[in-house]
């Protein structure tokens, strides 16, 4: 770990008691080594519903590794990650119900149409019944591409399809790796709107990005690796 700062940018306007009911996410003493290099050590944070954690750092500083540890995909060398008091690497069922993850790869199948991709995503996750697949595609700016195979979509449009997947899942914690990547200004605005709405409904977000996430009225903690 080169440098790590914890900066509380904005004051939480949500009462913590209300946020607590939406779940809380903690990391205690996380350490991870790759190729004999310690990427980070002694990493601690506590994140409540309605709050956001932004992870910054140079390329290769371990942002993606940290996100994969927080997801439960990778085990840390030291430390633990808890969701509502349960270790996510030992008792993950409840955590996975509450989790949505967008990694570097979009998790989009290029042989399937945009709509078919969302149908599979809906079957795999806890679906948000209030948002239909078509409505999510429309909001993501893909209304005209419902029946277009994802292979014919641009990289930005595939990112939007991954965002549409977030819209149809009822997850309380989002872990997003460079969500603004490949997106145009409208797409970036959409991500910020989605982050704001997620925080407003008591959802927690961990996001690795270099972009300023200027979301008003919600607490953002920044960690620099």
């Amino acid at each position: 770990m080169n440098n790590m700062n914890h900066v509380a940018n904005m004051t939480a306007t949500q009462p913590r008691e209300k946020a607590n009911s939406a779940g809380y996410f903690t990391a205690n003493g996380l350490e991870y080594t790759r190729n004999d290099t310690v990427l980070f050590s002694g990493l601690n944070f506590k994140l409540y519903g309605g709050e956001m954690l932004q992870i910054q750092g140079a390329n290769g500083s371990g942002k993606t590794s940290l996100l994969r540890i927080l997801c439960g995909l990778t085990l840390p060398d030291k430390g633990e990650v808890h969701w509502n008091g349960k270790n996510v690497h030992e008792d993950s069922h409840d955590y996975l119900r509450d989790l949505s993850y967008i990694g570097h790869a979009n998790g989009v199948k290029t042989e399937l149409t945009a709509l078919e991709n969302l149908m599979v995503a809906r079957a795999m996750a806890v679906p948000k019944e209030a948002v239909s697949n078509c409505a999510a595609l429309e909001r993501a700016g893909l209304a005209d591409y419902e029946n277009t195979q994802a292979r014919k979509l641009s990289s930005g449009q595939r990112r939007r399809l991954a965002l549409a997947r977030l819209m149809i899942t009822d997850a309380r914690i989002w872990i997003l790796d460079e969500p603004f990547a490949a997106l145009d200004d409208t797409g970036k605005k959409l991500v910020k709107e989605m982050l704001t709405e997620h925080a407003a409904t008591g959802g927690a977000t961990v996001v690795a990005t270099h972009e300023p996430v200027d979301i008003q009225h919600f607490k953002i903690t920044i960690i620099t690796l």
Binding site: C71, G72, L73, L99, G103, N106, E111, A123, M124
Partner: protein
Amino acid sequence: MNTQTTNHVFLAILRRDLMIGLRQRSELVNPLVFFFIIVTLFALALGPYEETLRQSAPAVIWVAALLASTLSLDTMFHSDLDDGCLEQFLLSHHSLTIIVMAKITAHWLLTSAPLIVAALFLGLMVYLPQTAMLPLLATLLLGTPVLSLVGAVLVALTVGLRGSGVLLTLLILPLYIPVLIFSVATVDNAAKGLAITGELYFLGAILVLAATLAPLATTSSLRIRLG
């Protein structure tokens, strides 16, 4: 997790993989063409002697089916790893074992089921006796799912490794030996008019064992590889 949800997830993944497979026609056709070429090469190498071909037919068809099945294995998890879908499967709250079982079923339907139909036609080409046709069908129905099941474990163990194709072939072919021995013995015995019940029971037992353990082993292998 209730049965209805489990069925829903199984069918969603099965439908997904079948749609993907049917849209990638080359991956569907290549094992079939490979199967046809190997059987033809054997027929050309053994010469146009009916008796020689008839005696070799069960072995020729089964070795060709094994190789063709191995050719298509590598695709089972590879593209899902590349496009991030495998991560999404691991992060689903649904059982990864159910997802893996759906993927193995789809792989069998897309690659082995066409081979079974083709094998019956190729059996005629190599003078397989009529009395051995049904036993050949039975061995293929019992044996090819084992190839997909056992193959899935090793594909999961080697997914994402450089040069995994060759490594996979080296690892998988020795594991197919029991299926090969009992299948060829069944068809051989049937062609000679001998009893085949014992061999079929063994094949059935191998299938039950593979169907019980392979999805769990595949799940663990995927978690190890992606962790």
